[in-house]
Symmetry: C2
DNA sequence: CTGAAAGCGCTTACAG
DNA sequence: CTGAAAGCGCTTACAG
């Protein structure tokens, strides 16, 4: 069944069928009805390849999830408590707009080619790039070819520096504000010995959270103890090892600011094993607000990253850019929120 | 840049460029090299729409994840510990075969149309359907139109009864064997009072696990106590409520066979809150082997469902069917495995 | 081994 | 308001 068949059955030309399908204005109501009836009767849907070849959009966006060197690792990205809801939200929002999503995993440097290839082959109209690695070179390449896309968790200055022109939307959360709120909260509870379990510093959010932690401590005249400066890389296992190492030192911090929930949960496991009570002996805070954080005991106090809203914005922005070929690099910071639960305690007794 | 441009630059015809791209045999090595050089130099990739319109495959499969009425629910499918790794594995295996994956969420009855539509529009060559709902009518429809696809967790008899012909591959795990092994294990530990926290019975695996539990108990002459026959629907919250209700009765089972890990974890939370010790006061077993089950304390004894292998098989089978238009309904049962950890104890003191 | 030409199923100026 | 025709960028018999 093709548009020509519909045309014959409805007694019109293919042009008219096309006009009806595309909802053009210059078709009298009667003709439209007549054609629609046949279309519905045969459940006709135009061949997407023919449409695209004739100049229409693919109505498809590519979602590229970067996670270099984690293949074979248990930390696969779709099981990741942070990325899974994001992927979910992207597909959900895209589908709600009648847009299809082509999902691609990028597990090695070579896989980056998939991004440009999908664009060149005209499989997609736009893209969303998210992940654990920040390849500015790839971003610059895609941008220079004029393809529109949204990127999540990238430093705006870095992009502006590296990319002269292109159609990019940079979506972040206000991690600096979130970190500041959290440290302020700990200080208000009386904590002065605040350690950090840092994330990956080659990540924008990892860097921001780390730097803001340092800044706020300094502003309050609190010193930063090197023994409490843990490098957890955002990974459960690494985080656990760092916490175990910290336990070798005489003095522990009274609070540990973890740069994501996964590491916070992992730290809590270690403390439990070592009979260190949370929050009585040490207060723990997370970042992201992943689901398990609310199940765990004590429930995790954390900073909520608005993942769903970020996915929504990412989609909204790609769709906008797809409809507008002018070069424009925009950026948005979506609001984080302090979620106080049970994992922190006042030091005042 | 199109194939015609490449042809001109290489001094050949479009036909020859096409032959090189498609790796046909009848091109002398010299010509091939000459053409390839230009192709690589300009990073040329053929327009996929043109290729498909001219008769080639889309090299894309649709992944349809069914989760009716869970929209807005916290149990979104991509955060689901069972589906996430499956989606991951599908994309991974597809990409490894040079196949793209179009991911679609089906959250309402209307969304089912997406499946047939994607096929009719020729966006995909084949599909994989997985999810919490089992719509045999939809399966029959898609099959009757001749589109090839794999389905996960469906009753083979039901399909054969409903679908006369088509190109379907049904992928299951040996849940009956898995359930039997688990109940046998509990019995070998001395348990005779074994309760069940059942999953959704409109699901194939939910039904099999439930029925096998009943059969094995009967075979051993053990009675099935209605007070211990809990209906958890595979959902954390429902499971917790059912366990709480069970606690009203005088006598508790000495072991609780949970039909998935999520419910087992949820039950463990309830028991902990109620000061009922696992495994000392009650043994708990799960099903699926999701990641958190190994983190939890005590670590969960469970039946491993080979999700990755199932995804791999699903891909393998669709690709096979895409290359072969003959009608064929096949089915595969991939092996489960008993994973003994810490959540069960012998009743012999 | 290779090219000219037809054809895939749409959309879109163009002409009326 | 509507149809005939060209064109999108490939592939594939066909002929040589």
């Amino acid at each position: 069944m093709k548009s020509e068949d519909i045309a014959k059955l409805a007694g019109v030309s293919r042009s008219t069928v096309s006009r009806v399908i595309n909802n053009y204005g210059n078709v009298p109501e009667n003709t439209r009805k007549k054609v629609m009836k046949v279309i519905e009767q045969y459940n006709f849907h135009p061949n997407i390849s023919a449409r695209v070849l004739a100049g229409k959009k693919t109505d498809t966006i590519g979602l590229f999830i970067v996670s270099i060197a984690e293949k074979g690792n248990v930390n696969r990205i779709y099981r990741n408590n942070y990325f899974s809801p994001f992927i979910d939200a992207v597909i959900d929002n895209a589908n709600a707009n009648g847009i299809y999503v082509l999902v691609n995993s990028i597990y090695s440097e070579n896989d980056y080619d998939k991004i440009i290839q999908a664009f060149i082959e005209k499989r997609i109209d736009g893209g969303i790039i998210v992940g654990t690695e920040k390849e500015l070179g790839v971003i610059a390449d895609v941008a220079s070819m004029g393809y529109p896309f949204s990127i999540i968790d990238y430093c705006v200055e870095d992009i502006l520096h590296k990319v002269k022109k292109g159609r990019i939307s940079i979506i972040n959360s206000t991690d600096s504000v979130g970190t500041r709120n959290m440290i302020d909260y700990l200080i208000s509870l009386g904590h002065r010995d605040i350690g950090i379990l840092a994330g990956r510093l080659n990540t924008y959010s990892g860097r921001i959270r780390y730097e803001t932690y340092q800044n706020v401590l300094k502003e309050h005249g609190l010193n930063i103890n090197e023994n409490w400066n843990l490098k957890g890389e955002f990974i459960r296992k690494t985080a656990a090892q760092e916490v175990i190492n910290m336990l070798q030192h005489d003095k522990l911090p009274t609070a540990l600011f973890c740069c994501n929930d996964d590491m916070a949960l992992s730290a809590m496991d270690v403390f439990e094993k070592e009979k260190i009570r949370v929050p009585h002996d040490i207060s723990i805070t997370g970042f992201d607000d992943i689901l398990p954080g609310s199940f765990v005991k004590p429930a995790l106090t954390t900073v909520r990253v608005p993942l769903y809203a970020m996915a929504q914005k990412a989609i909204e922005e790609v769709l906008k850019m797809i409809g507008d070929t002018s070069n424009n690099i925009s950026s948005y910071d979506l609001k984080t929120e302090l979620i106080v639960r049970e994992s922190c305690m006042t030091t005042k007794t």
